[in-house]
Symmetry: none
Subunit: 126 residues, 4 copies
Amino acid sequence: MMAAVMTERWDDTQPIYQQLRDHTVNRILAGELAEGEALPSVRQLAVELQINPITVSRAYQLLVDELLVEKRRGLGMFVMTGAREKLLNSEREQFLRHELPKTLERARQLGIDNAALLQHIKDSSE
Amino acid sequence: MMAAVMTERWDDTQPIYQQLRDHTVNRILAGELAEGEALPSVRQLAVELQINPITVSRAYQLLVDELLVEKRRGLGMFVMTGAREKLLNSEREQFLRHELPKTLERARQLGIDNAALLQHIKDSSE
Amino acid sequence: MMAAVMTERWDDTQPIYQQLRDHTVNRILAGELAEGEALPSVRQLAVELQINPITVSRAYQLLVDELLVEKRRGLGMFVMTGAREKLLNSEREQFLRHELPKTLERARQLGIDNAALLQHIKDSSE
Amino acid sequence: MMAAVMTERWDDTQPIYQQLRDHTVNRILAGELAEGEALPSVRQLAVELQINPITVSRAYQLLVDELLVEKRRGLGMFVMTGAREKLLNSEREQFLRHELPKTLERARQLGIDNAALLQHIKDSSE
DNA sequence: GTGGTCTAGACCACT
DNA sequence: GTGGTCTAGACCACA
């Protein structure tokens, strides 16, 4: 059941289709959507999430464009083979090269030294 | 000269006025704009950055609303006393409560463990 | 064995039944399917190509409608006498009146002059 | 006036937004839309072509994704610098490597020899 | 059953 | 003024 996963409600600062795309990527990363498995159908998901089918469609189209999902005509959308591996690599790369440095830069700018930072990381892992 | 600082072009994922507000906040944090100092005039900045004066106005208005900047009629906009201190507190709070946890959560999701994370932080501080 | 010929996977820009119809036409043109010869059975082909039997049926029906193939009840589908000749004429007509002019028009639009075009044709025929 | 250019009516075998994208590309190639020039606004074009603004929007989005057009917030869409050059290269490449060979292959398959082909090309250039 | 496309109309944010 | 997003509902092609 998808609704159970989609606990956080819509964000409103980001288009719904974008959030849905991100959410689906996260489900693939987490292994909840296995490779080769079918995504929930556009219509079904639209009903579940109380949104317009076209909005779901747009989210799915993004995934197709990223080669993470493939369309099988008349059958539905399926997670492509290798999608998880691909995502792990690209997202990790993206994180280490851009997200993390930006965060660290921000910390320095705010005068938060490494000691404080390390403390926070330790706290969070408990 | 501001143009020299604003090397990166507009972001397109965020309103220009918001980016300009953030950029100005960062200049205050960095001490480039000292307390009591005048901000560049709306008109001048608009020309420099090739944007609409109304957009600059909106950015400045945000700063006024945050009580970081004050308008002195006929004179211009000035960084308020205590602005930097105030910013350091609020932005640091924001960072530690939301930005950092989100980044750490992301790292965990991507399977980056604490050891790797700490290594990256050390590397970046050299 | 058909599967050996159908090396390229489905196109996705065109209906599968259409692609299968085209493919079969090409086999007739190439003489791989002789006149009077039986087409692979719907069921068998569906298994080989991993597609729905209904889809194969639709492709075959197109060929029947074009009078290229005839159904013999209880026996299967057979390439009609004169099918190859007929195809050569109709497809050639179609090619010379529509496909070729469109390609030439496209070349002109891209600034490829006749000299360059002729050169390419010579190269390809070696 | 755009309507004058869009003489051919809708194709019906291809989505309108795709046709509009192609048409716009051709206008850039032909130099009718100069680099730096604004595209007709989404609304205006929608009225002229009697289609839904969202359909125009989709066409324009394709062009943005291809880096042929840039969005300037609140101002409109503009042909990017270098777009024509880029198009000439990519489309010519595409044509010479795929479209032309496919056409020649087709000709050979239909038993049209080079002599006949050359004759047609000469005829078409008059 | 599946996804794709389009319409008509609304609302929003940005410049 | 600009484009972006979403809805509600319809129709189509495909398997």
